[in-house]
């Protein structure tokens, strides 16, 4: 068990919602969540389909441990073809929506076609219906959640929805659930919008059972204790992920001013210490920390903006606490655009949640626009008089809102950095791989991270591999291919369990295995789990190759290969990506052109 053994197929074109049995053969080969959704995507659509067309398929998937007492059991993944990249998109989220969808009785939900008119999907156990979205289309994520709960007189409904950004096809629009958690990357929200699907509202009362409850609870208690005693976990609880900003500043791996620099003088104004410091209104930025479903870490930040700050002084609707800065939001609204006003950063974060956008892609796209503006290629006329200079907090918050509402220059920013930079004749200024913008780690200081960015199946991403320890120890590209490949496979497996990657502060593959094996049928071993991860990685790769990606797409922008890091521990270094790629392909069992060999495919049962 662990699995509900039932899935939901929603065809928006026909207006039908049907349940069908979970393919258990696939479940035992791909586990759940990311892996299982990738298999269903592969079997249900052509990778050549237009990501914004009705032939794209959008899958919401939980894992076998989602909704159990395993720590961090709230995860679900959204898998589809991403409009930002044209590659397979796989974004996962926490909050409470994923567990609720599973409690309704479904491991996975396949959304096909396009609704003739805007709709939202209600999933209440067996009662699954498409309903008109007239009352919420054109409104924010926050309004949509409130409206749906009121409409059904049920405050316990959990909602995943899109804002206007998703409706209007902003290429990095995301899907937000529970007000401030998001399946954030690759534009999965734009796919939902292209399908005229405003929201999914879930309410489940069926619960989740596991194969051997006694052995499972023993594994849960042991692994929870490991997390409780772990220093890395403690740091996440107390400081949040933004603890990383001080580490990256010191190391010189903090991308600044659209990657022209690797250290940011404003870091002390936006780091965890600044979040805890008293502000002029007597409050602190930090209010409290918050957990996702089942999570015993609680890295989430709840923050508050000074009521006198220019962003909200006349806007009472924002005088409440909400989701606060995490490392990637702090990076994308801070150093990369050179803004150091903590209230402006926090407000931009609110706007991302309210309107449903990926802060990383927004911030890095704005950074590219700022560089073009300072080169004189974007004019004040285009920006409605907003000075897009690096360091201007108003540029950050005004443009965040314009993009979220799809107004003025926000429409141009909504293209993402790749198309925006092409539009102004400088494609080299887009800090992205496969069209997806970089997270907050510079590839010149962290060489293994660069390899991970270049080879990630969803475009540049910091969450699909883990070479931190090796990168901090040695700043060359030597020996990075192996830990990169191994961690990619391991994380593909973790992303398929229903649990959060942050548990790896204290857990290795054995800890996941103990829980999976007690919860699910099949004799799961650590080796089988890692092989499952490798199978998933290769299937994602096959999807991308079929979609038209080649060897040349596994690369970094020229800036990181030719312009040396100007300061920090990697001063004078450039990325060694060209040396790392051949070694990586070889380890993967791929040809020098990046194609998995027949031998590799048959070894993995593909």
């Amino acid at each position: 068990m662990g699995w509900q053994k039932q899935i939901l197929r929603v065809n928006l074109t026909k207006g039908t919602c049907k349940s069908e049995p979970l393919n258990m053969e696939w479940a035992e080969k791909y586990l759940g969540e990311r892996g299982l959704a990738t298999k269903y995507l592969w079997e249900n659509m052509s990778p050549k389909a237009d990501p914004m067309g009705p032939d794209n398929v959008l899958i919401f998937a939980t894992g076998p441990l989602t909704g159990t007492m395993s720590s961090t059991s709230g995860r679900y993944a959204v898998v589809t073809k991403g409009p930002l990249t044209g590659a397979i998109a796989c974004s996962n989220s926490g909050g409470k929506f994923g567990a609720e969808l599973k409690y309704a009785g479904y491991d996975l939900m396949i959304v096909e076609g396009r609704a003739p008119k805007p709709v939202y999907l209600l999933v209440q156990d067996d009662d699954v219906r498409l309903l008109p979205a007239d009352g919420i289309w054109g409104t924010t994520v926050w309004h949509t959640e409130e409206w749906i709960k009121a409409q059904h007189q049920d405050p316990q409904i959990k909602v995943a929805s899109i804002g206007v950004a998703g409706e209007r096809g902003v290429r990095f629009a995301c899907i937000v659930n529970d007000l401030h958690r998001a399946a954030g990357r690759s534009g999965v929200g734009a796919v939902m919008g292209s399908k005229n699907l405003k929201a999914v509202a879930a309410r489940g009362t069926r619960g989740v059972r596991v194969k051997d409850p006694k052995r499972f609870m023993q594994a849960v208690n042991e692994t929870k204790a490991l997390l409780a005693d772990n220093d890395g976990r403690r740091e996440l609880t107390e400081l949040g992920t933004n603890a990383m900003i001080d580490a990256m500043e010191e190391f010189g791996g903090l991308p600044t001013r659209n990657f022209q620099k690797v250290q940011f003088e404003g870091t002390p104004k936006i780091d965890p210490a600044a979040m805890w410091a008293r502000k002029p209104d007597g409050h602190r930025n930090m209010v409290t920390n918050k957990a996702c479903f089942g999570c015993t870490i609680a890295c989430g930040r709840i923050a508050h903006i000074d009521q006198h700050h220019f962003t909200i002084v006349n806007r009472k609707e924002y005088w409440h606490a909400s989701g606060g800065l995490e490392y990637e939001t702090a990076y994308a609204f801070g150093p990369v655009v050179a803004v150091d006003d903590i209230d402006a950063l926090t407000f931009a974060g609110y706007l991302m949640n309210e309107h449903g956008m990926d802060p990383i892609s927004f911030g890095v796209t704005l950074a590219a626009a700022m560089e073009l503006y300072e080169m004189g290629l974007i004019t004040d006329k285009e920006t409605d008089g907003v000075a897009l200079n690096f360091g201007n907090p108003e540029a950050l918050t005004v443009m965040a809102e314009k993009t979220g509402k799809y107004e003025g220059f926000g429409k141009v920013l909504g293209l993402g950095s790749k198309l925006l930079c092409e539009k102004y004749g400088h494609p080299e200024l887009s800090m992205s791989v496969k069209g997806q913008e970089f997270a907050g780690y510079d590839s010149r200081a962290l060489q293994g991270m660069g390899l991970g960015y270049a080879t990630s199946n969803r475009g540049a991403c910091h969450l699909k591999h883990d070479v931190f320890a090796e990168d901090m120890e040695d700043q060359t590209g030597k020996g990075k291919a192996k830990p990169c490949k191994d961690s990619q496979d391991r994380i593909a497996m973790i992303d398929s369990t229903g649990l959060c990657l942050f548990t790896t502060a204290a857990w290795g593959v054995d800890e996941f295995c103990k829980q999976i094996d007690a919860a699910c049928e099949g004799d799961w071993t650590p080796e089988r789990l890692v092989e499952t991860g490798e199978r998933i990685w290769n299937l994602e790769r096959l999807f991308n190759l079929e979609a038209g990606f080649t060897r040349k797409d596994d690369d970094l922008p020229a800036r990181l290969k030719t312009d040396p890091a100007p300061s920090g521990t990697a001063k004078g270094k450039v990325s060694e990506i060209d040396k790392m790629i051949p070694e990586y392909y070889k380890l993967r069992g791929w040809t020098p052109e990046g194609q998995p060999t027949n031998e590799t495919l048959s070894r993995l049962g593909l």
């Binding site: 409690y103 316990q156 989740v208 409850p213 409440h320």
Partner: protein
């Protein structure tokens, strides 16, 4: 010694481990929809507060029950529902001023916190000690202690 659940909302992160532990103990399944303890969120999700039955000494639910299905367990002080006697009339759910007795449609009986017979699973599952199980006569002990230290100016100045 009688013990009592003690709730400290400031420590709650809204992880719902307590709700899952409760449903596992009572229903054999992870299912917050069947939990006797609930976490409530306020202010845009910025505050989370656990709430469950406080086991009234003169319990409204017990007095309201027409078939005497609710009785006090002398060992734990918990008001317990006997499924064998309960007829599912729901009068207790109306009588309880706090809303902590609720009807379970699947079984046709009412459900409420029974302190798990004196070893509450919610308290054991809570990762932050927002829910603890302490001496029923001294639920204020830790809060008193926190304030007591502030009365000694010299000690706190150090």
């Amino acid at each position: 010694m009688l013990k009592s659940l003690l709730i400290d909302p400031e420590k709650c992160t809204s992880c719902l481990q307590c709700e899952m532990a409760c449903s596992l103990e009572h229903e054999g399944v992870f299912n917050p929809a069947k939990s006797r303890i609930k976490i409530f969120e306020f202010e845009h999700g910025a505050r989370a507060i656990p709430y469950t039955c406080t086991q009234c000494a003169e319990a409204w639910c017990m007095h309201a029950c027409p078939v005497e299905a609710i009785t006090k367990n002398p060992a734990t002080g918990a008001m317990e529902v006997s499924d064998a006697i309960c007829v599912g009339c729901k009068v207790c759910t109306i009588a309880c001023p706090f809303g902590t007795v609720n009807y379970n449609h699947d079984t046709g009986k009412v459900i409420k916190c029974d302190l798990c017979g004196g070893d509450p699973e919610c308290a054991k599952a809570c990762p932050t000690d927002a829910i603890t199980y302490v001496d029923a006569n001294w639920t204020g002990y830790e809060r008193m202690k926190k304030w007591a230290v502030t009365t000694n100016a010299e000690a706190s100045a150090g």
